[in-house]
Symmetry: C2
Subunit: 375 residues, 2 copies
């Protein structure tokens, strides 16, 4: 389906990887994206949400690409999530018209978010009365009415006002601000994403959804009807759909997957992301040193796996190196394909993807357009 | 001394941070560099090496900036180290005329290294006979004679041919190649950098230097006199100077320091690097949530410290968040200054530094020019 994308957002060949280049010639370490696998993942998630009657708002914090976000919208997404204002700027400037910024605004980011709300349909979240009032005042000064979700803590203990009466208090503050329009609730159950026992995961996620349901009832009793309740990630979207309290899910990692999410969703989505490394030293028997270390592979969720190998074989050896065991006789220059443990933080290390097809053809490069846009 | 730098490499004000901006207004998370502290660190290391009569070749893998590298050369550095060919390209194109690429070349990177050797004085390393021959053949085809160091394993067990007779074998192979000029040895004792007991560190590092000394003697017996022996980092440069086998040291982190190197070199160098974060949520008593997580702070050597606090207070809370305890009453928007645990991998996450002076004035921004140049 990629050939049906508008020309303006097609990937252009990058400086280092020319059209017609073979995958063997791509300089390493390189971030490789199988666009055929991506397309299948996008279609599967779109189908799951359409069948369930739940809106899909994929999170762009994973892929950081307006091109992929555009394809998600083409396949029926209600809009796109951005983690930070800088990421939302890149999405809007890349043609995405409906963006939810999922992290709470502070005074120093509010003006940029309001600038963006003048260019596209931008929704923001707040988790305190103080920030609701601050945002409302700034929006009024510009003559804007900004769409706002209350960020609710349903158990992750990160951001969000506590579910129940504290949420009602913040929601009322939003509703009372003339510059704001209370649109709904955001309640991300991040602590449930990578729970590897399916029943334990279901139990914990349903606890969150029940808190959310009770909070919605309290809000209705207070006269606040909320049409938009957004939650869930790749690890829990099935559970959110099953429970029914959410009107929208916001998964991100399903687009490319990684070794950790593959333990939660082994059947539904394919791995589409790799880091190719090269053997640079073979001086130790049965252990090659490759040219990819902490600067090319994130370690926050552990080391990567070697493609098509079931046992751990890679260990970090500094900023620029890793040790890989069990390759058999290796020569300098041999390629080792690695599957990242955590897609978001690994993609964040690269300026571009090398695009490949199922048959291994290189299809140019794609900028990781919002890379580094953490502010 | 910064005002004596040539205009061409002066930092230009960035897009997001304007000249005249106050530090309180810089969007967060932001990477902050105190250029006064950097200048003092540069001068101290230059003095230490000058006094000892040992050449200094600072490693640019830490700062990734031709501007800082240029200042290091002004202060007497013999040249600059780059970790990868892509980093060396940025340095040469930024005006650095003598660059050592410290990681071993493989066939796919050799041609780019040879391109660069036609533009500046570039030295490369190899750790096998096969790669020496491969490189020699390519250099001959271009009519080049390339300066080569043999990469020696003195105990780190990463790259490098084993010290002793195996090194002699590779050195002979280099010497025999018409396209190569055998210039010396590189022997990085990376495993000794962060050993926090000074006597244990000295014992381990001296073991490495003794291996190197014995190898040099073997080489001399084989008729190979090597004028250039390069080793050491910020954690061991004093020890390398004390031992005497090295003719050159290649420290990188001393320029900015981090919490780990501060445990090894507490007296000599100042911390010059910070990540500023903002409080985005205050819903938990005595624990604020800030807007900097794994995408803004590397975790490979543990969490960052809060500036001026002795006890750990920050914990990672995902890609975009951290939890900070003990701030007292905090409000959304409050700034929390963090000291990275590992400077190289944290700098690698950002496109630019915000430059400040000792008195807190913002002095524009500086591109992390070689960021992402891991290939």
């Amino acid at each position: 389906m990629w050939n049906r994308l508008p020309t303006a957002v097609r990937p252009r060949p990058g400086r280092m990887v020319n059209r017609g280049m073979q995958i063997e010639d791509v300089p390493t370490p390189a971030l490789v994206l199988n666009v055929d696998a991506v397309e299948r993942n996008l279609q599967r998630m779109a189908e799951d949400c359409r069948a369930a009657g739940v809106a899909l708002r994929p999170h762009a914090k994973t892929h950081k690409s307006p091109w992929i976000a555009g394809r998600q919208v083409q396949l029926g997404a209600a809009g796109i999530c951005a983690a930070k204002v800088g990421e939302a700027e890149v999405l809007v400037q890349g043609g995405i018209e409906d963006v939810l910024i999922t992290t709470d605004l502070v005074p120093s980011t509010m003006d940029r978010a309001l600038d963006l709300a003048g260019l596209a349909h931008v929704t923001v979240v707040v988790d305190s009365v103080a920030m609701a009032q601050e945002l409302g005042q700034r929006a009024r000064q510009r003559g804007l009415e900004v769409s706002v979700l209350v960020d609710v803590n349903v158990g992750q203990e990160r951001t969000g006002v506590d579910a129940g009466p504290p949420t009602v208090e913040v929601a009322k503050a939003v509703a009372e601000e003339r510059g704001l329009r209370l649109a709904g609730l955001q309640a991300y159950e991040g602590h449930c994403q990578l729970v590897f026992d399916p029943w334990e995961q279901r139990r914990r996620a349903f606890e969150c959804y029940e808190r959310l349901l009770a909070t919605r009832q309290l809000l209705e009793e207070a006269g606040l009807r909320l049409p938009w309740i957004t939650t869930a990630g790749t690890g829990t979207y099935r559970l959110a759909i099953e429970h029914g309290v959410a009107t929208e899910v916001q998964p991100g990692s399903y687009v490319v997957m990684d070794t950790q999410y593959a333990r939660v969703e082994p059947a539904r989505f394919e791995n589409a992301l790799y880091v190719i490394s090269s053997v640079v030293s073979t001086n130790r028997p049965n252990r090659a040193v490759v040219d990819a270390g902490w600067k090319s592979l994130s370690c926050d969720l552990g080391p990567p796996m070697v493609k098509d190998r079931q046992e751990p074989a890679y260990e970090f050896a500094g900023d620029e190196h890793g040790r890989v065991s069990g390759l058999g006789p290796a020569r300098e220059g041999d390629r080792v394909w690695l599957v990242p443990s955590h897609c978001d933080t690994t993609i964040n290390l690269y300026d571009r993807y090398v695009l490949v097809r199922d048959d291994g053809r290189v299809q140019g490069t794609l900028p990781v357009a919002a890379r580094g846009r953490s502010a």
